[in-house]
Symmetry: D2
C-alpha cells in the first residue's frame, strides 16, 4: 500500500544527538513555506545518533531541490547533518533477482501493477529460465544468466553490468537462492534487500524450513534484510511469522511460509522506497506507519 501522498516530498536526515536537531530542519521548513504533513524522529541513546523523517508539501509545484540544498547546507553544517530529499511520487528503479520460486516475484509484480507499490521494475534477472513467461506478460526484460561454480564471478559481473545499464536504485533478491560473492555484496551494500525464509538469527543458511521441522518449532518466519558481507547477517528491516503445528512436513512448511515471505519482502521494499529505513550501527530504525 502506498502511504505517501503525491505532491509531497520526503526529507530524511541524521546526525549526532544534540540540542536543536529538529528545530534546524523545521525552522527552515516554516521559513521556506514547506508544509509538514508528518514528522518522525528517533534519538538512539546507545549510538548517540539522531534520525529524522519529514513528509512535506512544498509551497509550489516547481519545488527545487538544488535551491533547498543551497539554502539548507549552512544550517545543516552546524550539526554535521547529512540529509536527502526525494519526491514521494518518484518511482525508484528496482531490479529483481529470482531463481525458480515465483511467489515473491508474482507478489511484487501484482502490487506494482495495481498501484500498491510505487516502483518501476525495469529488469528481472535469474539463473534459471523458468520465470520468463511471467516477466514477459508484464513486459519486463528478463535475463537468464545461468551460474556454475566456475562462472559465478563472471555471472555476477554480468548482473552488475545490467544494474548499471538499467540505472537500478535498489536490487531485490526475491528468493534468488544464490550466495553472493563478498565483492558483489560489497558493491550492493545498503542497496540490496534479501528475503530469508526463517526468523533470523534462527535457521541461517540452507534449507531453513527443514531445519525448522527438525527442531519442531511451532512458528516459522521470514526476515527481510539488507545484503552485506556476512551471509544472512545484514541489518534486519522487518520480519513476519506464521504459526505451524506437528502435522506439517517440511514441504508443507515451505508452502505455508510463502505468504509470510512475500508480505515481509513487500513491506521491506515499501519501507525502503518510502525512505522509512535508517541504519544505526548494525540495527535499523524503521518509521513504520
Amino acid at each position: 500500500m502506498q502511504t505517501t501522498h503525491s505532491g509531497t516530498w520526503i526529507f530524511t536526515g541524521s546526525c549526532s544527538s544534540q540540542l536543536g536537531t529538529v528545530d534546524v530542519v523545521t525552522r527552515y521548513m516554516a521559513e521556506s513555506g514547506n508544509y509538514i504533513n508528518e514528522i518522525h524522529s528517533f534519538d538512539d541513546r546507545v549510538q548517540g545518533m539522531f534520525f529524522l523523517r519529514i513528509e512535506f508539501t512544498p509551497p509550489s509545484a516547481d519545488f527545487s531541490v538544488a535551491h533547498f540544498n543551497d539554502e539548507f547546507v549552512e544550517r545543516a553544517a552546524e550539526f554535521d547533518m547529512t540529509w536527502a530529499l526525494s519526491p514521494a511520487a518518484k518511482k525508484e528503479r528496482v531490479a529483481i533477482l529470482v531463481s525458480k520460486y515465483d511467489h515473491c516475484l508474482n507478489d511484487l509484480l501484482f502490487r506494482v501493477r495495481t498501484g500498491q507499490l510505487n516502483i518501476d521494475i525495469p529488469v528481472i534477472i535469474s539463473n534459471h529460465p523458468d520465470l520468463e513467461p511471467l516477466a514477459k506478460w508484464h513486459n519486463i526484460p528478463y535475463y537468464h544468466l545461468p551460474i556454475t561454480p566456475d562462472t559465478k564471478l563472471e555471472q555476477e559481473q554480468q548482473i552488475l553490468g545490467l544494474l548499471a545499464e538499467y540505472r537500478i536504485d535498489l536490487t531485490v533478491l526475491a528468493r534468488y537462492m544464490q550466495v553472493l560473492s563478498p565483492s558483489m555484496c560489497q558493491q550492493l551494500d545498503g542497496k540490496a534487500i534479501n528475503i530469508h525464509h526463517s526468523l533470523l538469527p534462527g535457521f541461517k543458511g540452507a534449507r531453513p524450513y527443514h531445519q525448522a521441522w527438525e527442531k519442531g518449532v511451532k512458528m516459522v518466519g521470514a526476515t527481510a534484510h539488507y545484503v552485506n558481507n556476512d551471509l544472512d547477517e545484514g541489518p534486519i528491516i522487518t520480519q513476519g511469522i506464521q504459526t505451524v503445528n506437528h502435522a506439517l512436513y517440511p514441504e508443507q512448511l515451505i508452502s505455508k511460509g510463502q505468504d509470510i515471505e512475500r508480505i515481509t519482502l513487500f513491506n521491506a521494499v515499501r519501507y525502503h522506497v518510502e525512505k522509512r529505513v535508517f541504519l544505526s550501527g548494525k540495527r535499523t530504525v524503521v518509521f513504520d506507519n
Copy 2:
C-alpha cells in the same frame, strides 16, 4: 511497559492545520534548551486538524511549567494552539471500577506493582464485595457500593464523590458491567476508559460472547474506548483479537477472551497516561510506540 523515560517531559498540542505548526513548538524548544527525544505528528486532512506530541528533556531539573507557558503562550496564540505539559514520571491517579470479574483488575494491579504501568491506584470501587481481598492485599481502599434500579443515581453520586475525594485523573471501568446514566457519562467524558468484550461495533450491549457464539464468528475481540453518552459508542482507543473455533462454547469464549481484554485495557490505559491519545472528531489519534 513504561516507554517514557524518567526526567523527560511530554508536550502535547493541537490546532487547525497550517504552516509552521511544528516549527512554532520546536523553535521554542531549541531556544529554551529543551532537548527533543521523540516527536510525533499527525495532520488530519478530513478534520483539518494538527496533532503533536513531543518527549523532551529540559535543560535542568528545576523545569518550570509556568515559565514555559508564560513564554510560549504568545507563540501558541498565533496558531490558536492548545497545549499541555506533563512530566513523564508523573503518576496519574486512576480509580478502578469493577464488578465480580477480576482478570482486568488483577492485571492492572500486577502491572502497577511491578512497574510496568506508571500510575497510582488510590481507590477501587465495586457494586459487589467479591474483590475486596484482592484490593486489600495491595493496600488499596475498596468501596462496596451496591446498586439497585432504585439506587442507581444515588450510587453514581457516591462514586463521583469518591472520584473527587481521591482527586482522580482517570476512571477505568475494568469490566464494571453497569450501564452508566447519561449524566454520569457526561461528567466522565474523556476521563474514563471502558473495556468492552467484543470487537466493536460488532456485538454491542449485553453478553457479547454469547452473541459471537450464536453468529459463529471465528475471532473474538476486545475494545477499549472512552466513555461517552452513547453506550459502547465512545471513541475507540485500541482493540485486540483472539482466534477461536467451533469447539468453544460461550463459557469458553468468555474464558478465552480474558487475556485479550486485559491486555487491550492495559494498552489503552498506558496510551492515555503517557499522553499518546488525542481526540479528532469521533476518532482517536494514537501515537503508539
Copy 3:
C-alpha cells in the same frame, strides 16, 4: 497449501449424537483395510449433532466408492448417518466471479498455478471486461456479462447457465460486488463462497472500509462465508484481521485490507475443497490443520 496427501481419500459424515458413531466408521475402515491417516470429530452439544472427518489410504489403488457405499450403507443406516467420499487428489471445478478488483482473483490463480490450491478453474465470469487479460494469460475462458438493474435477473440466468455448462462444483465470489437475487442465492446455497471485506457482523453492506474509518476502529478484517438468502449473513467459514491506525484514510484501508481478504478467501476455499467444513445450524464446524 495443499495439506491432504495424494492417494488418500476423505470420508465425511454426520448424524445425531449417539453412542458408537465413531466406531461404526472406524470398524468398517479397519475391516475393509482402509488405513486411517487422520481423524477429527466434533460433537455439538447444542445441536446434538456429531461430525466426523477421516483421511484414509485404501488398501489398493482401485478403491471403489460404490463398493464402499454398498458395504457401509447398512451400518450407516443404524445411525441415520449421511456421509460422502472424495479422493484427496480430486480437483473440484471452481468458477470465479469478479468485478474489477483482481487481488483475490490473482491470488487464487497464482496458488492454483503453483500447486498450493488443488482446484480447477474452468471459467471466470465478470460484470466488467477489465480482468480478461489476466484470465487469458492463464488460458481460462472469461465471460463478460454486464449487469444493469433491468438485466439483473437475466444476467444471473446466464451465470447459472455457465455454472451448469462448466459442471461447476463451487462458485467463488472473489469481490464480485453485486448483491445476488434471492433466487440465485437459493440456487447457490452451500455451493458458493463470498469474501466480505469486514469482520462480520461488523460493517455489513456497502463500503465497509469507509464505515470502519468513520467508526475509527483499530483493526480491519475480512470474512469468508457461504452465500445464503440473507446478505452478508451466511455461515462464516473463516476470518482474518489486520491492525490499522489513525493515519490511514479509507482508500488506504482498502489497500491495506487486500492481503487479509485474499488470504482469508484462499483459506475458505481450501477448507471447503478439502472437505474440512460442516454446517451445524447457522454455524460452521471447520477441522483446520
Copy 4:
C-alpha cells in the same frame, strides 16, 4: 481456559503406525458404552508412529480404570500400544520454581484461582525470598532454597526431596533462571516445563532480550519446552511472539516480552495437564483446540 469437560475422561495412546489402530480403541469404547466426545489422531510418517487422544464420557459415574485396563490390555497388546487414562477433572499437582520475576507465577496463580487452569499448586520453590508474600496470599507453602556454586547439587537434592514429599506430577520453571545440573534434568525428563524468553532456537542461553536487541530483530518471542539434558534444547511445546521496533531498548524488550512469556507458559501447562502433548522423537505432537 479449561476446555475439557467435567465427567469426561481422556484416553491417550500411541504405537507404531499400522492398520486398525483407531479401530482397536474406538471399538472397545463403543462396546463398553464409553461415549466419544472428541477424537484426535496423528500419524507421523517420518517416525512411523501413531498418536491418539480421545475425550469420552463413561456409561456411569463409577468408571473403573482398572476394569478398562483389564479389558483393553489384550487388544492393545496386538498393536504394542501404550496408553493412559485420566479423568478430565483431575487436578495435577504442579510445583512452581521461580527466582525473582513474578509475572509468570502471578499469571499461573491467577488462572488457578479463577478456574482457568485446572491444577493444584501445592508448593512454590525459589532461590530468592522475594516472592514469598505472593505465595502466602494464595496460602501456598513457599520454600526459599538459596543457591551458590558450592551448594548447587545439594540445593537440587532439596528440591527433588520437596517434589517427592509433595507428590508432584509436573514441575514448572516459571523463569527460574538457574541452569539445572544434568542429573536433575534427567530426573525431571518429560516432567518439567521451562519457559525460555526467546523464540528458540534463536537466542539460547543468557540474556536473550539483550541478544535480540544487539541483533536488531523486529520480533521477540517465548518458547515453552520440556526440560532435558541439553540446555534450551528440550522438545518445544508451544511458542509465542511479539512485534517490537527500534525504539525499544533491552529493558523495554524485557518488559514487553512478559505478556507473551506468561501466556506461552500457561498454554504449555494447560496442554500438558489436558494430555494434549505427545513426544515424537525430539518433536512434540500437540492436539490443540
